[in-house]
Symmetry: C2
């Protein structure tokens, strides 16, 4: 096994919210001088240098939303979009390097997730053949060429090839970042989708799955009903009342009852789901405020129910470390505490010195770093993979022997 | 620069004919003990071990043909197809290793091109943004997982990122394979598309481009008019007469007048072009035999015209080494000689000990081998790239330091 050393790594991600690209630079280093590489709990330290959120052009975002919303496309569109996204990721990398006051020579490695345009972790039929699959776009060869920096990219397929769901990948970062803390604990990300990682008393990530929707639905409905990009601190939702009948109906969606490992995305909880929710609320005569409140409760209750149904039977979590845009939604956090079956202490990533905004960028920097050194970095207990593998494809690393 | 050594490499390809997968195993080795790596003319030797052509299931092939013919798809279809093709490539690799009497432990590396579902070397508009792009499917992480062998895959994007057309990649193999022979010479591949590489007196590939259609049109029309997969030795075409008026009209397609570097594919010369040709022939009252003869002449004359217009002004080629399925079409070869502006000696790849059937598999084995050792392997003079780059993405090579 090759000797780990400190690298300066830039992580790139475009999340399910499709706002733009998160780019951040980290110094990543082994915590022990003679490190025994242990796939289950790599002792890796992280120092954050600089991060930027680079928004997509509104017209580009609109097209992207339509594409992912409808799922209909052409071979040519996918082909060209892969290249355009590659240029946008490269541009985001260069902007962030400049913003950090660094040069490309000072960055050792880039980890790029790309943009997930489709994720199909469960087998489906293609032309009569059962298969699963995943599709990330954002050509990494372009990132490599524009920056001159080696790139590791496209992390999901290797885990899926090994029988996993290719998600949630974040369990690896949670294990690295929170293994030194007071465990057991849960790590909850409230992005477009809500996902939770369980870290046990021995600092192993033992379970990680998507509980269901989070901001993907709340933001979309807030935009349509109130013309606002998101419900700041949950102020609108806090004004309304939960419609219990409708909430119960929403919670009957079959995804919530499915046992982990499970992951989801905008295919299930996207524009279509949100539009149907608005239509249903209209038919039931539910006010816009009450709609927002009930949809916030959908996230809050589905998170708590996921804990009660699938986690609590094995491990009791009294501490939850929350991140993602939803971590700033005070009303949503109060709902999660309300529905949690027992007392719960809620922390933020920032309480541990980690910027929640750049956590996904950090995840992909960590995955690139470990794959670069040949350290397996999927978490089979969380993705369902049969074995440990090194995620990603490497571009521009030469001089092997 | 790391030291080159002998590796056993398996090459995988699925060509524009969409018949199936070509898989072949080679021993690839440096020809000089202390090799000065020269990107322009790597002195690399090749020994062929075993090859197999693994056909696609007819139903799968039919779906694939429809997909690529129409260009219309969904995100889900592309996502699942990438995985299914990955499994098929992995299966082809394992079948070929077994057929060679080898085990996976005896194979050092796999080079996989994937299947080109769309190639857009010229800039086009996506959502108002001008971009080019290329899209190969056949998830290499699956090949890596099923075989346990490191994989280098997806070779076009790095050349395109460097300003090239991402094609023809074959110039690199032509340079390696024919550099020791009597040069200058032309290397002509008659696959679905016809492409020609020019090797100058100093054994450099100085030009390589697609002259236009070859079997993509001939085979499709033969299937429709005669119910045969292909015109064996050109026997049908040899029975008819060339309709000169229609041939002139066909040769007015703007692609033929465009200066190299240029590449094309089924987007221009595919099902749609073939169907229009049949309709035109019907309207003009041209018999099925004469249709076949004239379409053979379209390939023969467009190859010779490409030479006369774009190559002859710079270099005179009196020797042509022909490969691809069309090399066995005696009638087509006689047409190329007929239209060539001066005397021409025609050889086959087999005359030089190279199996034409497995030349593309060999190309991708050679590209994987050289990228693995960090040797640049695009040919900027042929693709139009601004610089030399290492093509491909590496999966499963660990232990860097």
């Amino acid at each position: 096994m090759s000797k780990l050393r400190k690298l300066t790594v830039l992580g790139l991600n475009s999340g399910t919210s499709m706002d733009g690209i998160d780019a951040a630079i980290f110094r990543i280093f082994p915590l022990e001088e003679k490190l025994e590489i242990n796939a289950k709990r790599p002792a890796i330290g992280v120092e954050s240098l600089h991060g930027e959120l680079i928004p997509f052009d509104p017209i580009f975002r609109e097209h992207l939303g339509k594409l992912i919303g409808s799922g209909q496309t052409s071979l040519k569109e996918i082909c060209l979009l892969n290249a355009v996204l590659g240029e946008l990721f490269a541009h985001a990398a260069l902007t962030t390097i400049k913003g950090a006051g660094l040069t490309t020579d000072e960055i050792d490695l880039i980890g790029s997730h790309g943009l997930t345009v489709w994720h199909n972790p469960e087998a489906d039929k293609l032309w009569g053949v059962a298969t699963n699959g995943t599709l990330q776009l954002g050509e990494p060869s372009i990132i490599r060429e524009r920056t001159g920096i080696p790139v590791v990219a496209d992390f999901r397929p290797a885990d899926m090839a090994a029988g996993g769901q290719g998600a949630p990948l974040v369990a690896f970062a949670d294990q690295v970042l929170f293994s030194g803390n007071d465990t057991p604990c849960g790590v909850l990300n409230l992005g477009g989708i809500a996902n939770i990682t369980v870290i046990d008393a021995s600092s192993q990530a033992t379970m990680a799955f998507d509980s269901g929707p989070a901001n993907a639905i709340i933001d979309y409905v807030c935009q349509l009903l109130f013309g606002l990009a998101f419900d700041n601190h949950g102020a609108i939702a806090a004004r309304g009342k939960i419609n219990e009948e409708w909430l119960s109906a929403l919670l009957r969606h079959p995804y919530f009852a499915r046992k982990p490992p499970k992951t989801t995305g905008r295919e299930l909880f996207g524009q279509q789901f949100a539009q149907q929710a608005i239509d249903a609320a209209n038919q039931m005569g539910i006010s816009p405020e009450d709609t927002m409140t009930t949809l916030a409760a959908l996230t809050g209750k589905s998170v708590a129910a996921a804990y009660a149904d699938f986690i609590q039977p094995q491990i009791s979590l009294k501490r939850l470390i929350v991140g993602g845009g939803g971590a700033e939604n005070k009303f949503l956090i109060s709902l999660i505490k309300k529905y949690w079956p027992h007392d719960l202490q809620v922390f933020t990533h920032e309480d541990f010195g980690i910027s929640s905004k750049f956590k996904e960028a950090l995840l992909f920097a960590l995955l690139a770093y470990t794959s670069y050194f040949g350290i397996p970095n999927n978490v089979p207990a969380c993705t369902g993979a049969k074995e440990y593998v090194c995620l990603g494809k490497v571009i521009g690393v030469t001089g092997r022997n």
